[in-house]
């Protein structure tokens, strides 16, 4: 069983789709002449939407890559390392966002949480003389608690997460400004007060000189999330809530607890991304992460997760994030005008959304 539509998802209104696609589609009683091959092909396309998209963009990037001395610039060591490094923050946030969207919610606070975490960790390291471990632990805790609180408010007061996290966005930005006193806090490495411990600069290093550390963290986060979504009761509950919240409630899913947990995960990952942000840029600023929530949502949507909840995968999101990273990179390598780049990215998101809709109507 693939993890595409979630193990044991009740999928109430769309029973028979997704997971059963491998079986003969003839039982659907639709389009009696529908060639079996074509239906399967379509189903495959839908299921692996972001992977096909990723492959297509990857191939396009190779085709359109500028070359120097017979070497494709896109495929150079440096460039590929740059790509995985540059997508890692958005990718980590997008993993958390996938959980939230799977239960039919949204988390608009993550970009501001990046700012809060980045400035928080910078202040703790530079001004409060914290070691790396306590500083990172405290900031992760704050992010997790912030997310959990949003989940609690959303479920207890029955307010849509859109509203709760819109408020959370403002609160986190405000807290970040207060914490950093409105200024970016540059990191200066060294020992003693007024310096950040040298070990924090590991975020600027590469594993074996190849894989940037932020990308390594991103891959680890992705792998853990994929495992969680394939194997656990928690995951069954997620898909159940997203598929049909009332049905899930009636069948005894602890909805409140799951919601709190999901937003806590999203807050934790946003804080993690914020810490990486500060490490990569040698500075934590309260304005960091502005608009990152939208990039993360874009990665999730391109990854084939439905904004209505109940359907989608972390693997798709990883593909979506990488796709956006490669797209950004190849557009930049070809010096496509900055404004046109925005148009192209918009078109890709629309195309992904259109595929999703097509998929729903195909069920």
């Amino acid at each position: 069983m693939s993890d595409v539509d979630g193990p044991g998802a009740p999928a109430p209104a769309t029973a028979g789709s997704g997971a059963s696609a491998g079986a003969a589609p003839g039982g659907r009683g639709r389009g009696l002449q529908m060639p079996k091959g074509r239906a399967q092909w379509l189903e495959l396309l839908f299921r692996f939407q972001s992977l096909f998209g990723l492959l297509a963009v990857f191939i396009a990037a190779i085709v359109f890559s500028p070359a120097r001395n017979g070497e494709l610039l896109f495929l150079t060591t440096e460039n590929l390392a740059n790509i995985v490094r540059s997508v890692s923050e958005i990718g980590i946030i997008a993993v958390g966002m996938t959980f939230v969207i799977l239960i039919g919610g949204i988390d608009l606070s993550v970009g501001a949480l990046v700012g809060l975490a980045a400035s928080g960790v910078a202040v703790l390291l530079m001004e409060n003389d914290y070691g790396v471990v306590p500083a990172v632990a405290l900031v992760l805790l704050i992010g997790t608690a912030f997310g959990a609180l949003q989940g609690l408010i959303s479920s207890r007061l029955a307010v849509q997460s859109f509203i709760v996290t819109l408020a959370g966005l403002q609160v986190a930005r405000g807290l970040a400004r207060i914490w950093a006193e409105g200024q970016g806090v540059p990191l200066a490495y060294g020992s003693g007060k007024g310096h950040a411990p040298e070990s924090f600069s590991v975020l600027n290093e590469r594993l074996l000189g190849l894989l940037p550390v932020p990308a390594l963290i991103f891959i680890t986060v992705g792998a853990v999330a994929i495992f969680v979504l394939r194997r656990t009761t928690f995951s069954r509950h997620l898909y159940a809530i997203g598929g049909n919240e009332r049905a899930a409630r009636l069948s005894g899913v602890p909805i409140g607890r799951i919601k709190v947990a999901v937003f806590a995960i999203s807050g934790f990952l946003a804080a993690l991304a914020g810490i990486i942000h500060a490490g990569q840029l040698n500075q934590g600023s309260p304005n960091d992460g502005a608009g990152y929530e939208l990039d993360a949502i874009a990665a999730v949507v391109i990854g084939g997760t439905s904004l209505f909840g109940g359907r989608g995968t972390v693997a798709g999101t990883l593909g979506g994030a990488l796709l956006l990273g490669i797209l950004n990179n190849i557009l930049a390598l070809n010096n496509v005008d900055a404004n046109v780049q925005l148009l192209i990215k918009g078109l890709v998101i629309v195309a992904a959304a259109a595929l999703l809709t097509l998929r729903s109507s195909n069920d």
Partner: protein, 330 residues
């Protein structure tokens, strides 16, 4: 399964890295060959990394670079816009390095986050021309910028001439915490010292924005009956203050001073020419000077000073038309 495939793509990236490594053991060897010998018969690609295209000042900087580069047949300039995001600007520069540019011009969004990647370019022996905002340390070839303290001082001295017997000034400041705002305030105070009767009676922060400047001025005008001069840290806020005064029917009672003097239709020079502002002070975009520096480095094989501070020019009714025409003559 999808997970595995995704991992493959990531893996492929790593594998490709490994495969590439033999030829590229070589980041350094490559760079020395790519740092082309300078000279007049070469072709040079220059990467221009802009912090934020959405600001008129920066758009004008790009335009000045384009115009200046058009007269150097050996130059091709590529532009990237970081849209005010430090992380995006780091990627922009990395992408320029991948393209093996011959020189980098950068107007950094912020100093600390861009220092690392600018150093990376500099270490690859690529000439780096830093505009307007500095990076930390000295791993760059040349810095070209304006002096905000001097500009503030010029504005203060101008106000001292306007009010030889003293008077009341209200100040509309730039974004709180921004260095240029602090410097333009500091210089102004030095400038007005010559006339002890000049007092700054009120101040507010307009965040560099026209609408915020207007809002703040409305409040200041309500609270202060006797105002001779409004000093704003940039032209849009000065224009906002003018609008506020106009709707209160007081625009004839006071003078409005701005800074930046962009030679564009919506800029300060036009506002002076049309009588809304009484003076503004040029804050150079450095675009033309950047291309001049690149020309010296790449074509003339010459050196450039580590730091070039451009002077400000006072724009009043008398010279506004001329300066505007000259700035747009190309």
């Amino acid at each position: 399964m999808l997970a595995v495939l995704t991992a493959c793509v990531l893996g492929a990236a790593v594998a490709a890295c490994g495969g590439d490594d033999e030829g590229g053991g070589g980041g350094e060897t490559k760079s020395s060959s790519q740092a082309k010998t300078c000279g007049a018969d070469g072709k040079y690609v220059i990467g221009m990394s802009q912090a934020n295209n959405a600001e008129p000042y920066r758009e004008r900087m790009n335009d000045d670079i384009k115009t200046a580069a058009a007269s150097v047949p050996q130059f091709e300039v590529k532009f990237a816009d970081a849209a005010q995001d430090n992380a995006k600007q780091v990627s922009d520069v990395e992408n320029f390095l991948t393209q093996q540019i011959d020189a980098l011009i950068i107007s950094p969004n912020e100093a600390a986050p861009l220092t690392g990647v600018v150093k990376k370019a500099f270490d690859l022996k690529i000439p780096v021309i830093v505009l307007d905002r500095k990076v930390e340390g000295d791993a760059y070839t040349t810095f070209i910028g304006g002096d905000n303290v001097a500009i503030g001082r010029a504005a203060g001295e101008h106000v001292a001439e306007l009010l030889p017997d003293g008077g009341n000034v209200v100040e509309i400041r730039g974004l709180a915490g921004a260095t240029p705002a602090a410097e333009r305030a500091e210089g102004f105070r030095e400038g007005i010292k010559a006339v002890p009767g000049i007092k700054i009676t009120a101040q507010a922060s307009g965040d560099w924005l026209r609408e915020k400047g207007q809002q703040q001025a409305e409040a200041l005008f309500q609270a202060n009956d006797d105002i001779d001069v409004v000093y704003a840290h940039n032209d849009p806020m000065a224009e906002g203050a003018y609008l506020a005064a106009k709707s209160a029917g007081r625009e004839k009672d006071m003078k409005f001073i701005g800074i930046d003097a962009l030679p564009i239709p919506s800029g300060g020079i036009k506002a002076v020419e049309e009588g809304r502002l009484s003076a503004t002070f040029t804050y150079p975009t450095n675009g033309k000077e950047a291309i001049d520096a690149a020309k010296k480095l790449l074509i003339d094989c010459a050196t450039v000073p580590k730091e070039q501070i451009l002077e400000t020019q006072t724009i009043t009714e008398e010279n506004a038309t001329d300066v505007y025409a000259k700035a747009n003559a190309g």
